[in-house]
């Protein structure tokens, strides 16, 4: 048993889950700021991204060191490679939260559309659930559960399409047009967080099976 390697792998895995918790906090903050048009909270979310970035970098450096010193193979190598990808996906998710926060600041005081706000609430909850499922299934090495992310993603994708339609519906109203256009990006950000959660699921499957495959084909 290579104790040093196993300890390093355990620490990396723990760091990934801490990073996941940070992303969930960023997401909740971004959604709260959007819902209540809370500019201060939006600023906090933007500043909070540094914490996610620090964790991301620490994990990245630890992986470099581990690869150089321990030369892991087989399941250990797959664990490191999967964590390398999951780390990047989580960091990207946090960046989308920052974008949502920045857009919230840009539309401060603009009249919101209630239907769309409710849609964002639903999309936000689904994104949060997807992050949890992605992280839990990774921790449990549960491929079946990881694959359930595809269905969850379909729901968030549909909500995104509905949001776009709603923006088109209100775009005749000049006062709400700018707000609507910016909200299309918010919707897109939440939808992309779902995509990254599916990508984490694919890493779980890679880790367990040794074969990388996309859960869904982008051309479909």
């Amino acid at each position: 048993m290579r104790v040093t390697l196993q300890e390093a792998l355990d620490q990396l895995e723990a760091a990934i889950h801490e990073e996941g918790e940070l992303v969930l906090r960023a997401l909740r903050g971004a959604l709260g700021a959007l819902e209540h048009q809370d500019v201060e909270l939006a600023d906090e979310v933007i500043a909070f991204d540094d914490e996610v970035d620090d964790t991301y970098l620490a994990i990245e450096e630890e992986i470099q060191s581990l690869l150089a010193r321990q030369t892991p193979v087989a399941v250990d190598l797959r664990t490191v490679l999967a964590i390398l990808h999951v780390n990047l996906h989580l960091e990207r998710m946090a960046d989308y939260c920052v974008t949502v926060a920045k857009l919230t600041k840009l539309v401060e005081g603009a009249p919101a559309d209630q239907t769309l706000m409710e849609a964002f609430d639903e999309m936000g909850s689904r994104a949060e659930e997807m992050i949890r499922v992605a992280l839990d299934s990774f921790a449990e090495r549960n491929v079946e559960r990881a694959e359930s992310l595809v269905e969850l993603d379909e729901l968030i994708d549909r909500a995104n399409r509905r949001a776009v339609e709603q923006v088109i519906a209100i775009s005749g109203d000049e006062e709400r047009r700018e707000w609507g256009l910016r909200m299309i990006i918010v919707s897109r950000c939440l939808e992309r967080i779902g995509d990254h959660a599916v990508d984490i699921g694919e890493q779980t499957a890679f880790l367990v099976t040794g074969e990388f495959r996309e859960f869904t084909d982008a051309s479909h």
Partner: protein, 293 residues
């Protein structure tokens, strides 16, 4: 600008490049099954007296590949590599059963001359073992014994060149081989094998007595030599196998009769990337990840 009209051409172009790239990669490493088989071993058993050392090994060694045997001490990997040039014949109590076909011919057939076998299938050992003679005479030894004395100087130079030693020794060919460093001595032993124009090089832990720099030189050398030779190597160093081998066989020990009998078995044989990224057998996984052995 990419318009819809030329987008398709663009896609075809991209796919074309992909296929070329794929073909190029396949050219470098075609699937092993499509290669010529140098050794075809079927159900090989080796006993020392009544003690079984190796049980039911079947394996194919492919041409111009480096094939590595890894496994814990006592797993029979050295016993196995010695079957490829009938070195076990030299141990009176060793009994080899099963079939070892070399280019389709039974290596243990009644009309096969073990000396001819060892000419075509050279061996390099763990410790460099040059003869206490000059550098030149070490390399010329095999050719002289076998009567290959025409153009001997060129033959010696060629062998030393192939073993990446010529530049270091060309001005001191009359010096004793024992004056060379350990790494140079090992390359001299490789040159000594190459001088008789073998087909296969067997290497039993060829770098385990060498420092990291000398080890790297031997590994680089194996990489170059496989263009012209088939190489089989036993190594304790898993990373060495991962670095140099095209195919890797993992051997393990089967303990029976309340620990009295320890028999070597072949657990898994596959391409080296497969063995070190997603081995099929749990025992291989445990060994390569350091959880056992």
């Amino acid at each position: 600008m990419v318009t819809m009209a030329n987008a398709e051409t663009e896609l075809v172009r991209m796919r074309g490049v992909d296929q070329l790239d794929l073909a190029e990669r396949e050219g470098r490493m075609p699937p092993p099954e499509s290669r010529d088989v140098v050794f075809d071993v079927t159900d090989l058993n080796v006993r020392y007296g009544s003690l079984p050392a190796l049980k039911d090994v079947s394996i194919r060694v492919y041409k111009n590949f480096v094939t590595a045997f890894i496994g814990p001490s006592g797993c029979g990997k050295s016993t196995f590599i010695r079957c490829f040039n009938r070195m076990n014949d030299l141990i009176p109590i060793a009994v080899v059963e099963g079939s070892v076909r070399y280019h389709g011919e039974d290596l243990y057939g009644p009309r096969v001359d073990p000396v001819e076998v060892r000419k075509r299938i050279g061996m390099v050992f763990q410790k460099p073992n040059p003869f206490p003679k000059s550098i030149y005479d070490n390399v010329a030894f095999g050719p002289r014994v076998l009567g290959m004395t025409d153009g001997l100087d060129e033959r010696v130079e060629k062998a030393l060149g192939q073993a990446a030693l010529w530049d270091e020794v060309k001005d001191r060919l009359k010096d004793s081989a024992l004056s060379l460093s350990g790494g140079q001595q090992q390359r001299l032993c490789i040159a000594r094998c190459l001088a008789v124009e073998p087909d296969v090089l067997l290497m039993d832990e060829p770098a385990s007595a060498l420092d990291p720099i000398a080890t790297t030189r031997i590994e680089d050398l194996m990489h170059d030599l496989k263009q012209n030779y088939t190489i089989v190597i036993v190594t304790h160093n898993m990373q060495q196998a991962a670095r140099i081998a095209d195919m890797t066989a993992f051997f393990s020990v089967e303990i029976s009769d309340e620990g009295k009998n320890r028999t070597g078995i072949l657990v898994e044989y596959d391409t080296t990337p497969k063995i070190f990224t997603q081995p099929s057998d749990k025992r291989t996984e445990d060994y390569v990840t350091g959880r056992f052995g």
